[in-house]
Symmetry: C2
DNA sequence: TAGATTGTTAATCGATTAACAATC
DNA sequence: TAGATTGTTAATCGATTAACAATC
C-alpha cells in the first residue's frame, strides 16, 4: 500500500516521453500550435498508434479530428517527468567531459542546473568549469544536504566511477547518470543510468556490413 | 536474396553485446580466465538465461559445468561487433563536447580512432583538439573518401545537427552518432543513433518521486 | 562420480500495432 | 455535414524467463 492508485508505467513509455518532448519543443519554436500523432510519429520514428497509447497512460490530452495542442502537451509531459521544476545536479569530474557538461547550455534550457562541480585532483580544484568553481570532492555530502540535490552526474575515469557512485548514493543522491565506461551499481533506493558513449558506438558498429568494416580498417 | 543465411538478430541482443564486452574486459584485467552466465548476469543486471540465449545467436561459446572462457568470449563479441578492427571516426564540432571526445582515451582503447575533427568556425579551425588539428568542415567529403571512414560523430549545436548529418550521409558515412539534442534523420542506407544526454536525464528524472522533485526544486 | 553450468525448449509475459468506433 | 484524428480494443508479435536435459 503506497497510497497511490497509479498503474505501473512500462519503461519504454518513460523512455519515449523525452523524445516526444524534444520534438514538441522544436515544433513550438517553429510556431506550430497543434500536432497530430501522425506528424509526431514521422518526427520521432515512433508508430502513431503507440504515441497515442503512450499518452493515454497519463490522461486524454488530444482533440479528435484535430490533434494535440503543442503547448498543453509540452506542459503535461514536463509535469509527468518533473522537468517543469528546476532540477539541481551535482557533477563529479572536472576533466574534458565534466567541463563540457558544466558549460552545456542545453541543460539549463530544459530545466536542469548544475549547482556544483567536484573533483579530487588538487590542481583542478579552484579552477573554473562553466560558471562554477571546481570544489573538493570532500564537500559532496555537505553540498547534497544543503542544496537538496537528488541528481548526480559522473564524469570521472572508469576506475573511480564505482567509488563516486557509492559516495553519491550514501550522501542521498537518488538518480545517477554515469558517463564512464564502468558498469556502476547502486543500492536499492537509488537508480543509475550507465551511458557510456563508446558502448553506443559499438552497438551501432554492428550494423556496418562486414565488407565495410574491413575496408574501413585498412592497414594499420 | 542477399547470399547470407544469417537470421535477423533482435535489436535488444545487439544492444547488450557491448555491455557484456565492457564487463568482460574488466574481468580479464582483473585476471579472471573464466566466467559463468550467473556472474555475468550479476555484473550487468541481465538475466543469466538471457545472456546464454543471446550468445547462442552466434554459436556455442561456453563449456557446460565450467562457463565461458573470458579471452575467447571477448574475441568473439569483438568480431561480431567489428571492434577487433580499428574503426575510423570523423568528428564534427570542436566545441567543449567535441574536444572532450577527441581527447577521450576510452575510444582508442576499445578500437576506435578519431581521424579528423572538423568545424565551420574559422576561429576554431587550426586549433588543437586531442592530438589533431581542427580542420574546415569543407574538407568533410575529401576526408571521408581518402580515409575510408564510415562512422561520424556529431557534436555541434542543435540547429546545425541535421545539416551536418545530411552532409555526412551524402559523403558516404554509414553510421552516425548524434550528441546534439536534435532528433536527426538520415536517408535509408545510413543509420543514426540520437543520444542526447539531456534526454537521458529527463528519462531518469521520472523515477524521482514527486515529493523529492518538489523538495529539490526549492524556491528559485 | 558428483557438482556445476551450458544450450535449448516451452511457457509466460509484455509491448507493439492494426483497426475502428467515438467525436471534434 | 464531411473529413480528420483521437482513444481504445483486440490481435499479433517478439522478447524474457523458468526449467531441465545434456554434458563438461
Amino acid at each position: 500500500m503506497d497510497g497511490s492508485h497509479t498503474v505501473r508505467i512500462p519503461e519504454g513509455v518513460i523512455e519515449r516521453l523525452p523524445v516526444y518532448l524534444g520534438v514538441l519543443l522544436q515544433l513550438r519554436q517553429e510556431g506550430y500550435t497543434t500536432v497530430s500523432s501522425a506528424r509526431l510519429g514521422e518526427l520521432t520514428n515512433v508508430n502513431p498508434a503507440q504515441i497515442r497509447r503512450d499518452l493515454t497512460h497519463f490522461g486524454q490530452f488530444g482533440k479528435r479530428g484535430v490533434g494535440y495542442d503543442t503547448f498543453t502537451l509540452i506542459d503535461r509531459i514536463q509535469s509527468i517527468l518533473g522537468s517543469n521544476l528546476v532540477n539541481r545536479i551535482v557533477l563529479v569530474g572536472a576533466g574534458h567531459l565534466g567541463s563540457a557538461i558544466a558549460a552545456y547550455e542545453g541543460l539549463r534550457v530544459r530545466g536542469f542546473r548544475v549547482v556544483a562541480v567536484l573533483d579530487k585532483d588538487p590542481t583542478k580544484i579552484g579552477t573554473r568549469a562553466g560558471d562554477l568553481v571546481v570544489r573538493d570532492i570532500e564537500d559532496l555530502e555537505r553540498i547534497v544536504r544543503e542544496q537538496q540535490t537528488h541528481i548526480g552526474v559522473i564524469a570521472v575515469p572508469t576506475d573511480a566511477a564505482q567509488e563516486v557512485a557509492d559516495r553519491m548514493a550514501a550522501a542521498g543522491i537518488r538518480v545517477i547518470l554515469n558517463y564512464s565506461s564502468a558498469m556502476v551499481r547502486v543500492p536499492d533506493g537509488a537508480m543509475v543510468h550507465n551511458t557510456d558513449p563508446v558502448r553506443e558506438l559499438l552497438h551501432t558498429l554492428y550494423y556496418l556490413s562486414r565488407a565495410e568494416k574491413i575496408a574501413a580498417a585498412g592497414v594499420e
